[in-house]
Amino acid sequence: MSHIQVVEGSEAVALAVKACRPQVISAYPISPQTHIVEWIAKMIADGELDTEYVRVESEFSAASVISGASATASRSYTASSSQGLLLMTEVLYASAGLRLPFVITGVNRAISAPISIQVDHQDTISLRDSGVIQFYVESSQEVYDTHIAAFKVAEDPKILLPVMVCMDGWILTHSYERVSFMEQEEVGSFLPPFQPVNFLDVNDPKTWGSYAEDDVLMEFKYAIHEAMQYAKGRIKEIFSELAMITGRDHGGLIEAYRTEGAEVILMAMGSMAGTVKEAVDELRSQGKKVGLVKIRCYRPFPFEDIWDVIKDTKIVGVMDANFSMGSEGAVATDLKAKLCGRPDAPLVLDFITGLGGREVNKGTIREIVQKAEEVLNSGLPLHEPHWVDLNPAILP
């Protein structure tokens, strides 16, 4: 059973969070995240949601408040974007280390300077090494469903890590889409109350955040890595379980779209994947063997699932909406590193796309596919990473 409504993407997040019944939510404004915490505030003001809502003085404290609450056995949530996410960085590393399972919506936006409020993935990608599990979503429906799954993933006793649901600013947060909502009882049985393994308890006093020496620190970091590896399988199970209830299957760690027999596979994350799908449909109708791998879960990095799809293709064109200065896009780096040493590996081309909200339309994608085909046909290397739609005329 479910009901359907046309809502703003931010409201879809707020409704998902409400359905998950967090006990503590912290809020700090930053565009284009702000609508999310505003929708939640309105629900509380109208008596529709009973939660401790902490209006903090910075994103650093937004992440800290939910860390403290999570250690005190409360399901906890916040949302942020861009500079706010970077300000939280230190907190996220520490909370992953303490194995605190809260959920954050990471609304994607470019990083200063120059300051911009437009979308790209530089902010959340910068947190990839923190121990936070990261999902990237394409639509408001996927936003809603993924948030509900996110709490279950985070709170799994063998995972216990923060989870970030990354959604593109403006494109998803501020556009209205048709969303099918779960009934409260369905969410309740899918996501039972948070049962922490440890919590701050006066009847069983434990010490959190000890100083660790070189005899144990590596093992603690390895334990997070192991939890991430375990999470790969568990995430797929959790999304399948949710799909059984909702009848909507967004895929597991990745979604493969028309990849059968593809010679060129594009790889993308977030709302851009929707545009790629349309372009792929058009190109396929023209007889081009093109497909898409949408990465839904970026950390842990789902190489095994990606490999199953790309192993027979010739070229993978990674569309990185981020850039590691002095190197290349992060997703391409991940993929190339994993493919290195495999004689049968496809060629990986890195396309830097959509920084600071630079439009990525079907024409952009056709251009990327064309570049990939040129490499394929000529055998000549591409000057790489290739900055798509860069305007050399205005470079100094």
């Binding site: 003085e57 404290s61 250690a71 409360s74 906890s76 955040g209």
Partner: protein, 304 residues
């Protein structure tokens, strides 16, 4: 179990912690927890206390304790308090025990946020006047003309030239219902203030003067003595503010010159090494005299 073994386990802050000899902060923590009892969750930021009281597998804490980062103890505490409220665990209270670096400097924004929101947290700053955990660097709490490793006295310098941040007044300006200063020199008074603070709800603040033998440069058996002389010269005023008004002050029995306090510590040694520190010593004396007047620290009014 022997009597000794039983006695060891009566405390909420056990032996075996790794504080330096004669540590004022460790002494303060023992007495803070004696006053609060066991129904508290303690948050401690990075600093001396976190380092000497949390080596992995050797925890002295008999209360639930969390260290997260250097600058977020107030917001961790706010989160703990929010969770307790959401769960209806009303009998459990939240305590921060922090140092001056985290309180006056790096965690100041978070502290202000916690105070402004009115969160139910007792924040205790154990003040040793510098970043002692990293070797004694200058903080916003370092006293004027003290020599610290990042503002050292030298041929062209007499140490820190700025005033210490007046944090109790800043906290009180946030409408905190209870603000107090205390000292390890008066442990019963310290315990009494912690107990009193526990009777209030909302954000409360106690700043405890915790002399540091290794950082201030005095023999470890003198920790309380140094604390007493700091009070008796007027540089360390001990008072309580309830709902914005000063409601008690610790009266100085016999006023002593600031030089009695300063001379006993190597961090002020440069002021005495030749004649060039005289103007600065006069300045410090004037600060003490201003404190005495502002907080009415002498027993009889007009006795200056």
């Amino acid at each position: 179990m022997s009597l000794q073994q039983i006695a060891r386990k009566e405390a909420l802050f056990f032996s075996g912690h790794r504080a330096c000899h004669g540590c004022g902060m460790a002494l303060a923590v023992r007495h803070i927890l004696k006053a609060t009892g066991k129904n508290v969750i303690v948050v401690t930021p990075t600093g001396c206390l976190e380092t000497f009281a949390s080596p992995y597998g050797y925890s002295p804490w008999q209360v639930p304790w969390i260290h997260h980062l250097f600058e977020n103890a107030p917001s961790i505490a706010s989160g703990v308090a929010a969770a307790l409220k959401a769960q209806g665990r009303d009998s459990v209270r939240v305590l921060v025990i922090a140092g001056d670096g985290s309180t006056f400097d790096i965690g100041f924004g978070a502290l202000s946020g916690m105070l402004e929101r009115g969160d139910d947290v007792l924040y205790i700053c154990t003040d040793n006047g510098a970043y002692m955990n990293t070797g004694g660097q200058r903080s916003g709490a370092s006293p004027t003309y003290s020599s610290t490793t990042t503002d050292p006295a030298g041929k062209e310098s007499l140490g820190k030239t700025q005033m210490m941040k007046d944090l109790p007044a800043i906290v009180a300006a946030h409408s905190a219902p209870y603000v107090a200063t205390a000292s390890v020199a008066f442990l019963k008074d310290l315990q009494k203030k912690v107990k009193k603070a526990m009777l209030y709800h909302g954000p409360r603040y106690i700043q405890i003067d915790t002399p540091c033998p290794s950082g201030w440069g005095f023999p470890p058996e003198r920790t309380l003595e140094i604390g007493r002389t700091g009070i008796d010269c007027g540089l360390v005023p001990i008072f309580e503010m309830e709902n914005g008004k000063i409601t008690s002050t610790h009266k100085i029995k016999k006023k002593i010159p600031v030089t009695d306090y300063l001379k006993a510590q190597t961090r002020f040694g440069h002021l005495f090494s030749d004649n060039r520190g005289q103007a600065e010593l006069d300045e410090i004396q004037a600060m003490a005299d201003r404190n005495i007047e502002r907080y009415a620290l002498l027993r009889e009014s007009g006795n200056k």
